[in-house]
């Protein structure tokens, strides 16, 4: 048991060290969401009247949760890349011949992927606050928002790891994950309110867990933003997404670590 915890921690630490000392990965995955907030958010704020969004808050505040989702995706995609890279390079074999339980490979990898996703999400919150999203809300609201962000990070990390198990080719992985990237953001309430969407898009957005993350964060911590779903539903959907992601990743990683 202690060895399982130790080895999980070792794998997690190694992944995090690589992430935090790899300037390009860190810069690349951080800068994209920041650009979203700064360029898109500020630019759109001029054209989108807040009445058309919801509540009385600014557009930057309105779109910020969506960018949190986008950042979580960026981190998760990075985690999937690490997994793909370790598989292709054979580093997975180094783990497999070590006297560690298979589950620590699974937990270490999921753990580091989720950590990356969350680090990114936190940075975005901070950037958003700096450029004028009015945050507020109760302690409970913050706790809810953080739980939602963790749940969403877990869900998307699972998805990224599952996709990264499908191919040995980094380009193919990126192509597949990019395919997910756009609809996850645009087919949701992240950039525009649900009620402004045509019904086919609204149905799509309601099937997208991103919408519930975004809605929950808006209600929880952003002053002047109103929700479109009940908060409990946000928690249930994002929780379900997290569990589904975990199951997907577990299945994918287990099939890779099984003896041939």
């Amino acid at each position: 048991m202690t060895l399982a915890i130790d080895s999980t921690a070792t794998i997690w630490r190694k992944h995090m060290r690589k992430f935090l000392t790899n300037g390009e990965e860190l810069f690349g995955t951080m800068i994209q969401p920041i650009l979203w907030v700064v360029l898109f958010g500020v630019g759109m704020a001029r054209t989108v009247v807040s009445a058309q969004t919801s509540g009385t808050g600014s557009y930057v505040g309105f779109m910020l949760p969506g960018i949190v989702a986008l950042s979580a995706m960026g981190g998760a995609i990075g985690g999937g890349m690490t997994w793909l890279d370790e598989r292709v390079r054979g580093i997975l074999k180094e783990y497999l011949v070590a006297p560690i339980p298979r589950v620590s490979i699974l937990l270490g990898t999921i753990g580091s992927t989720v950590s990356k996703a969350m680090i990114q999400a936190v940075v975005i919150f901070a950037v958003g606050a700096l450029i004028g999203a009015e945050s507020g809300g109760s302690v409970l609201g913050w706790i809810t928002a953080i739980i939602l962000a963790i749940g969403y990070s877990i869900g998307f990390s699972g998805l990224a790891l599952a996709v990264a198990s499908q191919t040995d080719d980094l380009m193919a992985y990126h192509a597949m994950i990019m395919l997910l990237n756009l609809p996850v953001l645009f087919l949701s309430n992240a950039l525009y309110p649900l009620r402004s969407l045509p019904s086919w898009m609204r149905i799509g957005a309601m099937a997208n867990p991103t919408s519930y993350l975004v809605d929950g964060i808006r209600q929880g911590v952003l002053r002047g933003q109103e929700g479109e779903f009940p908060l409990w539903l946000c928690l249930v959907v994002v929780g379900g997404f997290a569990i589904a992601g975990l199951l997907l990743a577990t299945r994918a990683i287990n099939s890779m670590t099984r003896r041939k």
């Binding site: 060895l3 130790d6 080895s7 070792t10 794998i11 630490r13 190694k14 060290r17 690589k18 000392t21 790899n22 370790e86 390079r89 054979g90 580093i91 074999k93 180094e94 783990y95 497999l96 011949v97 070590a98 006297p99 560690i100 003896r259 041939k260």
Partner: protein, 327 residues
């Protein structure tokens, strides 16, 4: 230890493989009834052409793959029932380089040791001990992305040793290295054998490597051992030395004459001379030279080649003896 005493303890083999077979789900039978023993504190080299089943054998012994039939023990532990004990007592380098290039050499050793449950202090101590041994002290804190092929291989060797294994599995440890890099790896392995209580099972397709390093050599073909012994035993069993005569005169007449001699097994014409397969060449050389004189063949050059593992290998895995009788 227990009640068996020294005799029983020393009877434990580093590696013991019995009737081992492996058929992959694709239907490929990679190993077919393999029997093999590696004694403690020895180096065993598995030779064989590509696809002979060497890497699959290593995979089973290192618990990456499971056997379809038969048993395999490492350090007395069964690779199926006691996989954790097996993993805890072995060091492995894979055929392809397996290094996290974003990490420094020292970090790679540290994380590897931590994975095996060693304390940070212990990992640091072992790294400091091993890095000079593989000549990497100066580059230990550089990311290993910048290492040469030989440095990477040496780092992998050090990594396999961080955890103080009893049995070391080296799958093609010098693949892709230049001759200088190869001989350095050999030096490290030999050096290690003298310092530590270590047994080594390595695969290679460099014959000179097996001849240089190994106490025992097994030649594998189509999933089976087709020959086994110490390098000198295998070579002796091959029999004939090769005498090469070069000079001027009628090769045909010379060949006719030589075929009449005792002990001469084979004579073939080559450009400007003949190749003579003969046992105990040193005692026959005078007769051969005299025979050349009889047919007016003027000798310019005589050379004697002792058989080597290359000959054994060819004989065992080449077209003549495909079915793999024992020598």
């Amino acid at each position: 230890m227990n009640g068996y005493g020294i005799g029983a303890m020393s009877a434990i083999k580093a590696v013991e493989v019995k009737d081992l077979s492996k058929t992959y789900s694709s239907g490929v039978q990679a190993v077919d009834g393999l029997n093999l023993v590696v004694e403690k504190n020895t180096i065993y080299a598995l030779l064989g052409p590509n696809g002979a089943g060497k890497t699959t054998t290593i995979s089973i012994l290192t618990t990456l793959a499971s056997p379809s039939a038969g048993t395999a023990k490492v350090n007395g532990y069964d690779v199926v029932e006691d996989e954790k004990a097996v993993r805890g007592s072995i060091g492995v380098t894979f055929q392809e380089m397996v290094l996290d290039e974003a990490l420094t050499g020292r970090q790679i050793l540290m994380y590897h040791g931590r994975l095996y449950g060693l304390s940070s202090t212990e990992c640091r101590r072992r790294s400091n001990e091993l890095l000079p041994l593989v000549d990497l002290s100066d580059s230990a804190d550089r990311k290993c992305r910048s290492y040469s092929g030989g440095m990477k291989r040496r780092l992998e060797l050090a990594r396999a040793l961080v955890t103080v294994p009893n049995v070391l599995f080296l799958d093609e440890p010098t693949l892709g290295l230049d001759p200088n890099g190869r001989s350095r790896i050999w030096t490290y392995i030999k050096d290690l054998m003298q310092r530590t209580d270590l047994s080594v099972l390595l695969t290679t397709h460099y014959l000179d490597e097996a001849e240089q390093l190994a106490d025992r050599v097994g030649i594998m073909d189509r999933g089976k051992l087709v020959a086994e012994g110490s390098p000198s035993e295998l070579i002796e069993a091959l029999g004939a030395d090769t005498v090469t005569l070069r000079g001027e005169g009628s090769s045909r007449a010379l060949i006719q004459r030589l075929r009449g001699l005792d002990e001469v097994q084979e004579v073939t014409a080559v450009d400007g001379g003949v190749l003579i397969g003969v046992s105990s060449s040193s005692r026959r050389i005078a007769e051969i030279v005299a025979a050349a004189g009889e047919v007016d063949f003027t000798i310019r050059d005589v050379s004697v080649t002792k058989p080597n593992l290359g000959g054994v290998f060819f004989k065992q895995t080449g077209h003549e003896m495909k079915n793999g009788e024992n020598l």
